[in-house]
């Protein structure tokens, strides 16, 4: 560290170039942050999906609801510990463009099964369970539309219709939050019973649920339990498809398909292009000082010391640019969240990716300094001094 002042003076020697190199690295690592956030957004939170939770849907299509009678039958399968159900309601607030995921469910069992994803203060939870026309809404949606606890809000349905074609009125009894990073805090949940009374009996859609979610005591038994349930309802008018929630989320993410993958590829390419330019400049800055390095060697500096000084110089540049880039993109993405305001709830910068970013910063610093330093150390002093 004694020689740090020399390294520092070298960095300041061409301030302009140093500043712009740091700038280029900074933007490359900002891109890295965006890349990682896109990755988690397009995987639709597959890392967060429960392995110990399974879903049951109609085998032909999720739009065909399953009979309510399946609930007790699934519950009796050994290993099943708890079960809840949901209907996709397709609600919107005031204007059809203001849509957020809206589910009709059984509040009590839902909040048991999803206790971590839907964290609710105890008094709000009590009020929600007590009020048949109550609803809980995610913190993100509440913030976006300014919903407050106790407020009455009209929600229209795109799928279901009230006999009078008016909106359903809900009282917001609670606003849920979650400590899980990237958790979807845009949903609105309400009691299925409130929806049920508006579904005409002759429609054939009353007491039918789009999907069941159940928990099991041992995640390792998931395949056997799933097979057992599907066999139970085979050859009935409503055959089922049972799989882990993770499997469903991952299939769902795959439906979005190549687009996410292509976007990630090209961002990665852009990032590496910029790093290539920056790395080349850093290497160039050292290459043009070859004869100075020879002078140092003449003065008695060993190869190892010169190598470490050169590496230190490129590491400092990489650390300043990359560190700032990672820190800023992490802060912006954590504070700003989803740039599309509700379409990509899982848009966040995972902490594990941050570690990978730091690794990349070090790799950049070492790689761009190592090659020219190594070349310089192999030169004979006399040749190097003669170099222009």
């Amino acid at each position: 560290m004694k020689f740090f002042p020399i390294v520092w003076r070298n960095l300041l020697r061409r301030k302009f170039r140093t500043v712009f190199t740091i700038g280029a690295i900074f933007f490359a690592f900002m891109l890295f942050g965006v890349l990682m956030a896109i990755r988690s957004a397009f995987s639709m939170g597959v890392e967060m999906a429960g392995q110990g939770r399974l879903m049951v849907i109609d085998k032909v299509s999720i739009i065909n609801p399953l009979p309510a009678s399946y609930e007790s039958q699934i519950k009796m399968v050994p290993g099943v510990t708890d079960i809840t159900h949901a209907n996709w309601f397709g609600g919107y607030y005031q204007d059809v463009r203001n849509q957020f995921p809206t589910f009709a469910t059984d509040p009590e069992s839902w909040l048991r099964v999803y206790s971590k994803e839907f964290e609710l203060p105890e008094d709000q939870k009590k009020a929600f369970l007590a009020n048949r026309t109550g609803a809980v809404v995610g913190a993100d949606t509440a913030k976006k539309y300014g919903f407050k606890v106790g407020q009455k809000i009209p929600i229209n349905g795109t799928i279901y219709q009230r006999p009078d074609h008016g909106p359903w009125e809900f009282t917001i009894e609670g606003i849920y939050d979650s400590k899980i990073k990237g958790a979807d805090k845009t949903n609105l949940l309400f009691n299925y019973q409130y929806l049920r009374e508006t579904i005409p009996e002759r429609s054939g859609f009353r007491d039918r649920y789009n999907w069941y979610v159940f928990t099991i005591d041992n995640p390792d038994n998931a395949p056997q339990i799933a097979a057992k349930i599907d066999a139970m309802f085979a050859n009935s008018p409503s055959e089922t498809k049972t799989a882990t929630e993770k499997q469903f989320v991952s299939d769902w993410a795959k439906q979005i398909g190549d687009i996410g993958k292509i976007m990630m590829w090209i961002v990665a390419m852009a990032m590496f292009t910029i790093l290539l330019v920056a790395g080349n400049t850093m290497a160039q800055a050292i290459r043009e000082r070859t004869n100075e390095l020879a002078v140092l060697k003449t003065l008695g500096f060993g190869d190892g010391r010169i190598l470490s000084m050169v590496l230190l110089e490129s590491l400092v540049i990489a650390l300043i640019g990359g560190g700032l880039g990672l820190a800023l993109s992490y802060t912006f993405i954590s504070l700003g969240g989803d740039p599309t305001h509700g379409l990509l709830p899982a848009f966040f910068f995972p902490t594990a990716a941050l570690a990978a970013g730091v690794g990349l910063v070090f790799a950049l610093g070492l790689a761009s300094g190592f090659l020219p330093a190594w070349q310089a150390s192999r030169l004979r002093i006399v040749d190097a001094l003669r170099r222009n």
């Binding site: 032909v60 065909n64 054939g204 795959k254 976007m263 910029i274 920056a278």
Partner: protein, 394 residues
């Protein structure tokens, strides 16, 4: 002055060959940015083109009021009969209204690219459908026979999903379908769908005598308002009517927002990053030519020609980079077909990446801007070089 500019610029452009290493890095940097820019926006352009092909302005779509997609809409058989008699709907020679009530459901079926299940749109239609969607044509096999469990598949659906070949049987739930033909519809969204007889589909999906949408051909484009007023003012109906282009325009709002927002963020960050890259490259170029530039200045060349020559070199490199990036994007992505989720209707929609001339023009413009920004500071620096010290510099 002008001759000086030309002479100095000529020198710097010709000497690029001696600085091939650092110059090619700048070219690659800009090419990469342009490639990304074009690729991301070609997704949005491609989706747009598919939607444009889908909406015939002479066709009106009727949905239940309050529904924003066919998927969530619902129209009873009685309502369809009332709509049929509304004014403004064209009729054929025999007096049958050119109107198609349709049922739109999705089926779980594996995708070719991942083997994982996805939602294929399955549309039940009546014989009139082929008169309303009049660009539709069978390109392989034959059309469905009404009353039978037969299906025709859009060309894009056949390419994206497993086992959709003429002659195969498909079993979904309790019903088995035979795929009898493949159709084309000027690359519209319909090509991502499967079509069958609505009367066969209704009982299979327990829909009674109900439909989800009505497509109707107008007597003339101006008849739209008349038809819309007649439908929305009828107390027996709670429907909304819109022109088909308007409907299809609204169907990809989510997808477009995602692609354009993220694409925008990427393009800005990347653009600034690339300008920084260009700055350091040009700076290195100026630095390595310090003595040369100082010699020119000593010989009496003014500072303006020096500035212009550095800028010209930067723009020249940027244009080369832009051309390479655009060409690679065009070769790699134009016409590349893929399918994604249409968030509004919950189902798969195929489209082709479209690298349009407009997009390439924009990208080249973007490259020139990056070159100018990248060149301006090093250019000023070159012009300000104190001649005496610069000549002495190593």
């Amino acid at each position: 002055m002008l001759s000086q500019i030309i002479a100095v610029t000529g020198v710097s452009i010709r000497s690029i060959r001696q600085r091939l290493g650092s110059s090619s890095v700048a070219v690659i940097g800009i090419a990469g940015v342009v490639l990304v820019f074009v690729a991301v926006l070609s997704i949005a352009e491609g989706v747009n083109a598919t939607m444009k092909a889908s909406g015939d302005p002479d066709v009106v779509m009727v949905l239940r009021a309050g529904s924003d997609t066919e998927m969530t809409s619902g129209l009873a058989g009685d309502a369809v009969r009332i709509i049929q008699d509304a004014p403004g709907i064209a009729r054929d020679a025999s007096g049958t209204p050119l109107m198609s009530p349709e049922l739109f459901v999705v089926v779980d079926h594996p995708l070719k690219r991942s083997g994982s299940p996805a939602n294929v749109p399955l549309r039940g239609v009546t014989p009139e459908a082929f008169k309303v969607h009049d660009h539709m044509k069978i390109v392989e096999g034959r059309n469905i026979e009404f009353g039978r469990n037969e299906i025709i598949a859009g060309r894009a659906a056949a390419r994206q999903f497993v086992g959709l070949n003429v002659g195969t049987n498909l079993k979904w739930g309790e019903s088995t379908w035979t795929l009898v033909g493949i159709f084309e519809d000027k690359s519209s969204v319909s090509e991502s769908e499967l079509w069958c007889d609505v009367k066969v589909l209704q009982p299979a999906y327990r829909r009674g005598n109900s439909y989800q949408s009505v497509y109707a051909r107008l007597t003339s484009p101006d008849a739209f308002q008349q038809l819309k007023d007649a439908l929305t003012s009828n107390p027996q109906l709670t429907v909304s009517a819109m022109r088909a282009p308007e409907y299809y325009g609204s169907q990809t709002v989510t997808l477009q927002t995602i692609v354009r927002t993220i694409g925008g963020i990427i393009a800005i960050l990347m653009g600034v990053g690339a300008v920084f890259g260009a700055v350091i490259t040009m700076y290195t170029a100026v630095a390595s030519r310090t003595r040369e530039i100082a010699t020119l200045r000593a010989l009496g060349f003014g500072s303006v020609p020096v500035v212009v020559s550095v800028l010209a070199e930067a723009v020249f490199l940027a244009v080369i980079g832009g051309l390479i990036g655009g060409a690679v994007a065009w070769a790699a992505f134009d016409g590349y077909e893929t399918a994604t989720m249409n968030f509004q209707s919950f189902s798969q929609m195929a489209f082709q990446f479209a690298v349009t001339p407009k997009l390439l023009g924009m990208a080249l413009f973007y490259a020139v801007i990056m070159g100018l920004f990248g060149g301006v500071l090093p250019a000023i620096r070159a012009a300000r070089l104190p001649v005496v010290t610069a000549l002495r510099e190593l």
